[in-house]
Symmetry: D2
Subunit: 281 residues, 4 copies
């Protein structure tokens, strides 16, 4: 860990305060972040519907993929620039800041014009050119953990972004590849607790990609809250069965409303627990 200077909470007796990132009224790292929205922006109507429903349920950031990295070149690749415009419009109308993935160094500035937060996906966690490029702009970056990356490799990737000049990094645990086949990947919640201890950066959890199954998202979200995360990223689609990607893991607006209700109650309970117990949870 000798080379991790900027991401660590403590370096040679220097203690770095917890990172807080302001976007409008939202302060990430202080307010619990709930990013919600569809896997992909599929049409203006679809993203608008999704945006309204997640806003109403209480999300405070809107997601939607426009440049999609897919295993096969013949799978739906996203709407690109036009998708970006739909997403932007949906964000403006609902007052939600927006986040979308960037996969190419040449797109960083364009996407930075529209998005409030840039997402680096799991397959690009060690795309160092891209990390350096998003390190040069004035927008927060959400860095997903590589699906096979160790914590140390993940923190090194955050160090790349910060070393290039951008201190506003949000880490996101999204599951790691294991031999288990009942779930798409394996959600690593102890990594969340570990990273919260090592680093001053906020850590959010994406149970949608980690599990790949709508029925596991609520229990894993509540588990993630107890593991001390600073937020969640949840896939929500107006009609999951008709989605162009990730059908199995997107929640309906109704399910998301339930999730928000139980997450909020669990957050309130956890705050109370921290107040009464004289221990670091």
């Amino acid at each position: 860990m000798k080379d991790l200077k900027l991401v660590m909470a403590k370096n040679h007796d220097i203690i770095t305060p917890k990172t807080q990132i302001k976007i409008g009224n939202l302060t990430i790292g202080r307010d619990f972040l709930v990013i919600a929205g569809p896997c992909s922006v599929e049409s203006e109507e679809q993203i608008m519907k999704a945006a309204r429903s997640v806003k109403e349920a209480g999300a405070n950031m809107l997601r939607g993929g426009t440049y999609k990295p897919r295993t096969s070149p013949y799978s739906f690749q996203g709407l690109g620039r036009i998708g970006l415009q739909y997403l932007s419009k949906a964000g403006l109308e609902t007052g939600l800041p927006i986040i979308t993935e960037v996969t190419d160094t040449r797109d960083v500035y364009l996407i930075g014009e529209y998005a409030d937060v840039l997402q680096i996906g799991t397959r690009n966690m060690q795309n160092y050119s891209l990390l350096v490029e998003v390190g040069k702009i004035k927008k927060p970056v959400l860095l997903k953990r590589g699906m096979n990356a160790t914590i140390e490799e993940w923190l090194n990737s955050a160090e790349y972004i910060m070393n290039a000049g951008n201190p506003d990094v949000i880490l996101c645990e999204r599951g790691i590849r294991t031999f288990e086949t009942y779930t798409r990947n394996t959600l690593d919640l102890s990594a969340v607790a570990v990273v919260k201890g090592l680093s001053h950066l906020p850590v959010v959890v994406d149970p949608s990609h980690a599990t790949g199954r709508a029925d596991l998202i609520i229990p894993m979200s509540l588990s993630a809250v107890m593991a001390n995360c600073d937020g969640l990223e949840i896939e929500v689609h107006p009609s999951p069965a008709e989605a162009l990607s990730d059908k199995e893991q997107q929640l309906t607006p109704e399910q998301f409303k339930t999730l928000m209700s139980v997450v909020n109650k669990t957050l309130a309970f956890k705050e109370e627990l921290n107040r009464y117990e004289n221990t670091a949870l």
Copy 2:
């Protein structure tokens, strides 16, 4: 999954009720099970101290290894039969049922004389002779998941025990091997939620072996509660720094008291949540 007949919650429209296992006043599968105690029984005094402290804090079962499977033949191998007698005495004095690991088919009847529950360890999950042998006695069996096993392999091992005649199987998730090195293994909480959906058997979680780090045990225990587990297995030692095995992951009696307090509050909160929300959590 075609060959899983006895462990599944539903088989050909036949729905099996949740398994409940009675040991004295304790009903596993209904009462939340908290197994606590040292990694190894090291002396009469040590196990007695440990037993009193975990009983006082609210544990309802006492653990202690007497036949220890260790990677190296030169590591401490446990006290064997004499350890079993100490453990038994500590159980009787505190009124706690006891659980200990069995590693050899030839020891099953002897250990069954002393122990209330027999534990099959992670390295023996596919030791089929041993599974069949514990399937023949009238004592409940706690079956740890192999550290590299899939859910399907784990359930097949439970099927072996049940097929040999013993219906009282408790499953225990104890972490799987991944590339991560900050934790000893990776606790797989989505597996808990998955297995609770598939099977009628109770599932407990062992955060001590999964994480290998005392500081992660409280957050992971609370996460496990929210993932719907039926109990916990926690390593507690009167003086962890002097332990003959697993120093880094054993809690002090004081830390365990805190754990019990926050776990109980979280269980109460979860019950309330289930009452008010019309959803399957």
Copy 3:
């Protein structure tokens, strides 16, 4: 590696000579060992046919499972003691020493009465009671690498056997579990070269279980020879399509004859290469 005393080629300036194990005319560790035969002994006729065909093709040891560890309790579990008698008879008739797996401490002496070599399977590599038990008899032991074991864990298991009194251990690489699905497991040939450098024990390679595919067995056998192994273990069945287990990976007698021919030529080539090149291959 501090605890590895008996398996290492060099310990504190003491260099241990290469282990050689004599069974009749065969000297394992000097003569190239070719173990061949069916996955399971299925009938007297089947094992007799198999034995004759592998003997004729040039194998120098006969294999056949009689106590089979299977993932599901409902799969074919082997013929047990009667299978052992068939195997023994086939060995006597062809003059081939026989090897079969032992899975239970209680069976060690019985199986030791029949078999010339006892095999510890991949799922029992860390069944320490069994390792100690086979350490007490006067028969060589072939120790398969656990499908998820590191080299260090594997050598520690060999250390258990040797420490219990049995110096005649043969190591067998049989593939490790990875994310790849085209092959049953992944054959780790660099582990063979590594272990040959670390230890004085002979190392054989089992490409049948490693790949799970008949079409890969010849190329992987030749690769294994060039990686410096001391022998091969190959599944051969008189009629693979009718086998009760491991259909996909058993060779026909005809295919095995081809394998023996190309392996022998490759061994001769390698010997010549070692003679002419002044380098440690």
Copy 4:
């Protein structure tokens, strides 16, 4: 595998002939390819020395990293454009075609001006923007397998390049991540045999990155030849102990000379074997 149309040897009864790629006098897919050279271009003198030594020993392509993807932002990142000029000069002087890694879509055309073959590294195997970009130029591409990728994901990445217009793809197995720690990664030679059966594309093997150990490179190269590969990529440095990266795994010119000698003999032996045996090796 439904979406793999261009990389497969056979699709709906259409059999695609083996891909052959001409670069000057060299025909990849027919002539055995030996790529050799240092991990990184460090200076004009170093790459010139390396080039002369590998040419003399019989390599037919020169490698050298100029844009280096490193886990930490503080590790040596390569000389960039000036390194490209040194590499190009060394190639011209020795008559060796050159290969170097491209990590950024914006560099594809620049690097394509200098290099004869573009390399996509293991961390960028699923950097789809980059795959599409190298799919648009008229230079062959060597695509390394992701260190955690399955064969299917690897072939899908090749499909991206071919679908974008570039048929000249060379696959390179360079080891996968496993739990083993004695080697840097685990060389997966059965994947080579599998892919040679599925696809018409040439497959080369990189034992330097796979093992991370100079002492394993010769045995693994010979094993790779017997597994049917079409070439090797070997790291060679004039003075490995002084290398700025990958010290442990680079061969000296002397060691490389030995490697070339035994590889050539093994290739000749294998050709003879194929001639006399009536079997598909």
